[in-house]
């Protein structure tokens, strides 16, 4: 967290934080410079917002609580416990933002260290659902203020005595809990009519994940070589539910769907590495790891009057084809072996060659059984016991050669070629009413696949003169995927994913160039251009190859930094982006016409920042940013749900900092934020005034 624009609290760091710090530092009274530096500090801060419009959307943008926050923004404390032992404590605790950190390290020189800590932060989401411009339809079904809290508790102990093997033992607990939006929107007959339903109703996830991780490592390093051996054990579980409301508010049709996905898993990994400097010109590194993951699976998808309902075959609002399942139980086992070896060979002073090889083998088996539920035309329940399993085995072999050459004056060149070959087998079996006279095969399929990837990259940097660099980079990548199903009982039906795709080729050309230069004594410019074009060609079973996608992006970026005075800097930057994804679907006619529009993601991002040292103790900063997506939205809501982006978001702020004395400084900040969004019909618009203050005490 920077100390000038503390509002990364208000989301956006100052454009040139480093320069800002220099302003104040460069103008400090001479007397201060003679004092020993004060390393420790305590920052107390508070922020508050006045806001109208889409409050969850605003909160998601600034990633801070819309109702304000306050507390300890930063704490740094170092203390010499004795001649050889040091304590370092870092932390923060911002109530409202649920942003907490306690990071304690005790180090004993030439013996080792102990670490203990806890970190928690919140990520906000907006539960806004869909909007249909044609009828001005939108529904709010629940509190759309959603957030996930991520937590990490750790303890680490290490023995680091010089000339001895280093031992390290670490325990982590990772948690993820809360609610977030889902794009699997519920359908509604109220947007158009009951015969033309549209998926617009907001859905949300409930997330509850936990993972314990214990890792032990030993490393021995000498002048010529080093080796390491590591063990890792993970134990994790999660139960996540997606909550969807279908036909909300429609008499006889309103029902809630709760889909639960659960896992309980154990991961065990052993790994080792060895690095050997064979002679001055050659160093070889190799590593190997073996991992097994055993997982117990659970889940259900149940329709009911409320979320988390129990399956009821006579549920009043049930509809034909309300498909679901319950009582899912299963097991999965994954075994993975990875090994790689690389060499760094320097035959001459200006040439480095790095060949590398990697091998990976994965065997995966999964098996579940569950009760599948459905309703027929007369709403009579249709239930089946189902068993499903799959076996996946594949190998990946990758090779690469990289060469770096610096034999040309003021030029560095880098070339790399990479080749990956992967092949494997996927067998799938799905049985209805297994082990009974009614047993039927739903899916019995065996698919062989082969993937080949080639990538060639070249990079050149030309240091034209001191302060001026031209950098260019190009890569070409092609991947061909071939699928063959020697056994497939689904060929005569429409439900045969993924066996329907027989071949698929991906091809990418990527180029970028950058010019960094000084334009006089006070002005610095960085200009960059990026181009990428990707095509995907797809051949389905029995059909011809067709170009299924064409993606092109152009990005032009410019940054100017101007230091007209020692006490004043100005920096401005702009990105102009043209980004398109085209599929042949937009050209279809008849019943398929107008359903799928081109997917454009064009936008402009502009930022301007300035800092000025008012006197030897005060700085003033100004920031402005504009992000505008344009020409990405086509209102085809008379045919389907209109998707796309057309929004304009602005944030302006002014920050004043003053150093009251050697120990104390204050920061005050005001920011204004505004968002205008077209596809949401204005429901994602917001306007906000943000106020923030901080006191820092150094000691």
């Amino acid at each position: 967290m920077n100390t000038n624009s503390t509002l990364s609290s208000f989301r956006r760091p100052a454009v040139l934080v480093g320069a800002g710090l220099c302003l104040l530092a460069g103008l400090l009274p001479a007397a201060d410079k003679k004092e020993p530096p004060l390393e420790n500090y305590l920052d107390l801060s508070a922020g508050y917002t006045l806001q109208k419009g889409d409050r969850p959307g605003f909160q998601k943008f600034i990633q801070a609580d819309k109702d304000g926050f306050g507390g300890v923004e930063g704490l740094f404390l170092t203390k010499e416990l004795n001649d050889t032992t040091t304590l370092v404590l870092q932390g923060h605790a911002l109530a409202g933002n649920r942003d907490y950190l306690l990071d304690l390290t005790i180090t004993k020189n030439e013996v080792g260290f102990l670490k203990f800590g806890y970190k928690e932060y919140r990520v906000w989401y907006d539960g806004l659902g869909g909007f249909l411009p044609a009828t001005n339809f939108r529904r709010q079904l629940y509190n759309e203020d959603l957030a996930i809290d991520r937590g990490n508790l750790w303890f680490e102990a290490a023995y680091t005595k010089p000339d001895h093997p280093r031992f390290d033992l670490r325990y982590d607990l990772f948690t993820r809990k809360g609610t977030k939006d889902s794009l699997a929107w519920g359908d509604t007959g109220l947007a158009v009519n009951s015969a033309n339903v549209r998926g617009l109703l907001p859905s949300f996830w409930k997330i509850d994940e936990k993972r314990h991780q214990l890792a032990a490592n030993v490393v021995k390093t000498s002048d010529q070589n080093s080796w390491s051996l590591g063990l890792r054990y993970d134990k994790g579980d999660y139960t996540n539910t997606r909550n969807e409301n279908r036909r909300a508010g429609e008499a006889g049709f309103d029902r809630k769907v709760t889909q639960k996905e659960g896992q309980d898993y154990d991961l065990f990994q052993v790994r080792g590495s060895y690095e050997n400097r064979i002679h001055d010109k050659l160093m070889v590194t190799t590593a190997v790891a073996r991992t097994t993951v055993d997982t117990t699976l659970s889940g259900s998808r149940i329709y009911g009057q409320d979320y988390d309902a129990i399956y009821d075959p006579a549920f009043l609002n049930r509809q034909q084809r309300d498909e679901g399942f319950f009582g899912l139980h299963g097991e999965s086992q994954m075994k993975q072996t990875v090994a790689n070896v690389s060499a760094r060979y320097r035959p001459t002073e200006h040439l480095v060659i790095v060949p590398a090889f990697r091998f990976e083998k994965i065997d995966w088996s999964n098996k579940v059984d569950f009760e599948e539920t459905n309703f027929g035309a007369t709403k009579l329940p249709i239930n089946d016991e189902v068993e499903a399993d799959s076996e996946k085995n594949w190998k990946v072999i990758s090779e690469s050669v990289e060469a770096r050459y610096t034999g040309v004056k003021n030029v560095s060149l880098n070339l790399k070629g990479e080749w990956t070959k992967s092949e494997g087998d996927l067998s799938e079996l799905r049985l209805l009413e297994p082990g009974t006279p009614l047993q039927a095969v739903s899916i019995d399929r065996d698919t062989n696949f082969e993937r080949n990837t080639q990538k060639y990259a070249a990079t050149a940097n030309w240091y034209v003169r001191p302060g001026t660099t031209v950098a260019v980079q190009y890569f070409y990548k092609i991947r061909t995927n071939d699928y063959n199903s020697p056994r497939d009982n689904t060929v005569s039906t429409a439900d045969r994913y993924p066996a329907y795709i027989a071949n698929q080729d991906f091809e990418t050309n990527d180029f970028n160039a950058r010019l960094s230069t000084k334009l006089g004594a006070t002005l610095r410019s960085v200009t960059r251009y990026d181009y990428q074009k990707t095509t995907i060609r797809t051949q389905d079973l029995g059909l011809a190859f067709d170009q299924s996608a064409n993606m092109t992006s152009h990005i032009i970026a410019e940054t100017l930094t101007w230091n007209p005075l020692n006490r004043w800097y100005v920096q401005g930057g702009i990105n102009v982006v043209w980004d398109t994804l085209r599929t042949p679907a937009s050209a279809l006619t008849g019943a398929a016409g107008g359903l799928v529009k081109n997917s454009d993601a064009n936008y402009v991002d502009f930022n301007l920042g300035s800092g000025y040292a008012l006197d030897d103790a005060s700085d003033l900063y100004f920031d402005y940013s504009l992000t505008q997506s344009k020409d990405n939205f086509v209102d085809n809501s008379t045919r389907t749900v209109a998707y796309g982006s057309e929004a304009k978001r602005q944030l302006a702020s002014v920050t004043w900092t003053r150093k009251l004395d050697r120990r104390t400084s204050v920061t005050l900040k005001y920011a204004y934020a505004k968002n205008d969004d077209v596809p949401s019909g204005g429901f994602a618009n917001y306007e906000a005034h943000l106020f923030y203050g901080k006191v820092q005490y150094r000691f």
Binding site: E261, A289, G324, S400, D540, T583, N598, S599
Partner: protein
Amino acid sequence: MAPGGNGTEIGCESCHGAGSVHVKKGGGAGSIVNPRTSPETCFKCHQDKRGEFSLPSTHPVLAGKMSCADCHSPHAGDMVAEGGTNFGGINSTCLKCHTSQGGPYVFEHEAAREGCVTCHSPHGSVNAKMLKARNQNLCLQCHFQQQTAPGVILIGGRDHSSFLTRGTCWSAGCHEAVHGSHVSSSLRF
């Protein structure tokens, strides 16, 4: 470093700032710029990424809750610590935090083997969930097939014209299990 002297500014200090205090102190945190605490160092050359992180759907890097180094290894060769001959497999960077998306699934989505970036723009997007496209094109980029009849949109051999009036493939109630499924090979749910 290239000979000639013009590139002497390009080295450790181009990302970490002046190192004299760091050297004088004998190393250690707090005496030198740590790019992990702010993405501004990376944006100096990768300006396009500043724009992407400013978009409506993004990882919280500008908010200070993540750093570029959480996904990239700035001192390694090709920056991303996965794929190719790197030790980490494809997607391993994403699955560090998004563990539940990694499965396992009885019926997997092939796209996951192509990489999460087949559907997601990891630095940011104008679309929700950092999707490369918000409409049906996201799926059609791989699942558009040669059309053998006029006036329809055949996907997997079945006409989807009426289905697509409800919305996208995954938000119209038809293919919600986008990362994989235990119960349905067509990734219904």
